[in-house]
Symmetry: C2
Subunit: 252 residues, 2 copies
DNA sequence: CCTGGTCTAAAGGTCTGACCCAATTTACCA
DNA sequence: TGGTAAATTGGGTCAGACCTTTAGACCAGG
């Protein structure tokens, strides 16, 4: 009865009727992703697309807006402006992760868990693949973190260093994720003033030691030290958090 | 002269003029993310927004389109339709990661590296936080993987199991990432026909043993086994890949 | 009673055509 | 020749109309 009380045996699944703008957006997206157009290739002007597709300008514009939000094109105004093909970068991943974290009011614990999963691997890959330039950036971030006077400067430099490690891994996916996590942690940690001189000192030392391991291409040490650093940071942040907010009970 | 030949001493820095649709989109986004509106809350109808904001309908619609692409609202047509608040879910992260992977023609190695970073942690957290329902899903996926006859069924069931592990971790970020990676791996592995009976058998056994560890809440064992499983899978896939495509030279 | 047809109101989807603003070229004049 | 003004090209916005989809109500007929 539950699914059989129809007089006919014919079954159909729910069907979707795509919107015109989606159709166009999908078409363009596929072409862009296929690599058919190199980065920077200009799409035809809107009015040209109108005549080619026989859609209205509104529709065309909505399609372009979709692709723009997805980071697949960049739109400039003015003469010689228009829509230009752009390969999606870490930015888009970072921003969507940011939406997830902010919108879902994700437990801070989740963010730290993810970080503990990601960062040691970043450190390992960085130790394996780092270039001289990567090293320069890491050390520059280290300088800055030691030199930073105020809280905000410290946090910012801290983020920079962690992102630099991810960048040195030469893995775009991990880099994108780290950028997003860093931003999230940056904004949350900002309010809780748990950064005192001691924390700062410990952080600087930890960063130095990880950097050294990366420099010496000692993957195992990099993983070990990064794991410890991230873990202790997470523990400290969580402790502060628990003192501040109500902890979410774990279902079971 | 360079910066002082003005008759007035008033200096202004270059300013950006945001687009109207962006302004509206940002305003609505902030409100949604702040949690002010619970999920499912209907936004005012487009025409209503037009009168409230004194913008044109085109502008309003572009703003809504932006939010829709970002996964913050869902738009239904027809009477009682409209825009409804929606908290961004794993899918949006997954799809943006997918764009990154496809668009950048990311090295398959990067995807596997990320997986090797993520999945062991998923397994650990799953072992710690799993519920009875999670376990059911895991075992169901196991059944299906053993029962699957054709290649496609196998791959699909395989993905299901890995996603189920991520879900059992009760960490939305990791889950989102895993969904994206799985999809990417699914599509790439699809073509290379490296899945033979032996691979299949090994996979099933590995999954069973990880599932068991999760069931028994043995976090360490879960991590260990998952690490080995993912690593060997990655190695095998990479080997096939190297036989098929040209490997990218590593810069230094 | 069900079943299907019809109607209506609400809301998004699409189209048209016009106008505005920004960035470049181009052409012209001092 | 060099600077400035006009023309051109392109996106951004607006106003208004019409189409399509959906929910709900109401009706008619077997």
């Amino acid at each position: 009865m539950a699914a059989g009380d129809a007089r006919s045996a014919i079954r159909l699944s729910p069907m979707e009727v795509p919107k015109a703008s989606d159709v166009l957006a999908n078409e363009l997206r596929e072409r862009i992703l296929s690599g058919e157009y190199p980065e920077g290739t200009p799409l035809p002007p809107e009015r040209e697309l109108v005549t080619q597709t026989r859609m209205s300008r509104t529709t065309v514009r909505e399609a372009l807006r979709i692709l723009e939000v997805q980071g697949l094109i960049r739109i400039k105004a003015g003469r010689a402006g228009g829509a230009f093909v752009q390969r999606p970068g870490e930015e888009s991943v970072a921003s969507s992760l940011e939406l997830l974290i902010r919108g879902r009011q994700i437990r801070l614990a989740s963010v730290h868990e993810t970080r503990e999963a990601i960062e040691p691997s970043c450190a390992r890959l960085a130790a394996q693949h780092r270039t001289a330039g990567d090293l320069r950036r890491l050390e520059a971030a280290n300088e800055e973190i030691a030199a930073s006077a105020d809280l905000d400067g410290f946090l910012r430099a801290n983020v920079d260093w962690h992102v630099a490690v991810a960048t040195a891994s030469h893995n775009e996916i991990l880099t994108g994720i780290m950028m997003a996590l860093s931003r999230a942690i940056y904004t949350t940690t900002h309010n809780e003033g748990f950064v005192n001189d001691e924390v700062r000192d410990i952080t600087v030392r930890a960063h130095r030691s990880v950097t050294r391991a990366i420099k010496e291409r000692d993957a195992d040490a990099a993983v070990r030290r990064m794991t410890r650093h991230v873990h202790s940071y997470a523990a400290a942040a969580l402790e502060v958090d628990e003192r501040t907010t109500v902890s979410v009970p774990e279902e079971d």
